[in-house]
Amino acid sequence: MYIIVVGGGKVGFYLTKSLLAEGHEVLLIERAGDKVDAFVERFGKVVIQGDGAEAAVLAAAGAARADVVIAVTGEDEDNLVVCQMARQKFHVGRTIARVNNPKNEALFKKLGIDVTVSQTNFILTLIEQSIPEKSFVHLLSLKFADLAMVEARVSDQSPVVGKSLAQINLPDKTVVAAVARDGRLFVPSSSTELRPGDDLIAITQPEQEDSLRRILGCDSAA
């Protein structure tokens, strides 16, 4: 795959490094000349100096044959325009933008950016996952299918203790995909009975998360 990365900050640097290691053809566009010199020394001639939002720079980078353009500068307006120019002017099939301010995620989606990566939200989620008292955690949004992956802990007082999955009235379009019990992860069947301390991995719709939380008896306070 031919991938153009715009923005040579920490994210752009490590992204370029790992994409190259995976054997992709990569070109990094960075505005600051001194950074470019350092990158060329490190990666070879896969770095060019310029403004990735400028059509001439994207043309020189061969954007017309790029499979993916990834904009990871520290400025949301730059990431937005890089992706829009790549799409409108060079018909790049897939554009990925880093979103620095989580508020901008909805706008980027509305404006046709294929994938947005919000590091702020990502870090918040990671921190949330590592708080042990949390009994119901949103793990992942599967945006293409409008589904979410959640992790839920079955407590002593949970109304589902002792019930089989078939006996639990789960919300619409919700499946329990895996159960972690005594350090072992397995795919449950409809007859699997839930025990206190079970960790459930479930796929559900984002708007069903709250009702799933209630059904499993996971209070936010628990």
Partner: protein, 145 residues
């Protein structure tokens, strides 16, 4: 009418003061409070410190009541993003956006933004004096940077 102007440089300050002078309700946004010094002493409009790509800042500036939004900061991308926020998130009827880069200007005009490109208009004006309007017009379009 209510107008929100983003960017209080020479152009933003001038637009704001003329609108204010003509009796319109103007709010100017700039990230740098010192930029508001460019406004005349008798300026009757409001000023908001912040960036117009932030929906909350736009709300404080009264974007929800605005009939027009003008994006004239020095950053093309900032203007482009703010203009799209004003149009898509707040349905502002008239959104005008300054873009220096002629290619970017052309792209976003095609996408439906109302754009002004000082580079092309100024070049045309200067060329008009140097080689005449007709010849200057022929030269246009090939000068994509």
């Amino acid at each position: 009418m209510k107008v929100v102007v983003m960017g209080c440089g020479r152009v933003g300050a001038r637009i704001s003061s003329i609108l204010d002078h003509n009796g319109h309700d103007v709010t100017v946004i700039d990230t740098d409070a010192r930029a508001f010094r460019r406004l005349p002493a008798d300026f009757g409009g409001d000023t908001v410190i912040g960036t117009g790509i932030d929906e909350d800042v736009l709300r404080i500036a009264g974007i929800e009541r605005a009939t027009a939004f003008v994006a004239v900061t020095n950053g093309d991308n900032r203007n482009i993003m703010a203009a799209q926020v004003a149009r898509l998130m707040f349905d502002v009827p008239e959104v005008v956006c300054r873009i220096y880069d002629p290619v970017r200007e052309d792209t976003y005009r095609r996408l439906g933004l109302t754009t002004v490109c000082p580079t092309t208009t100024m070049s045309a004006q200067i060329l008009d004096h140097v080689i005449g309007a007709e010849e200057a017009h022929i030269g246009r379009g090939s000068g994509e940077s």
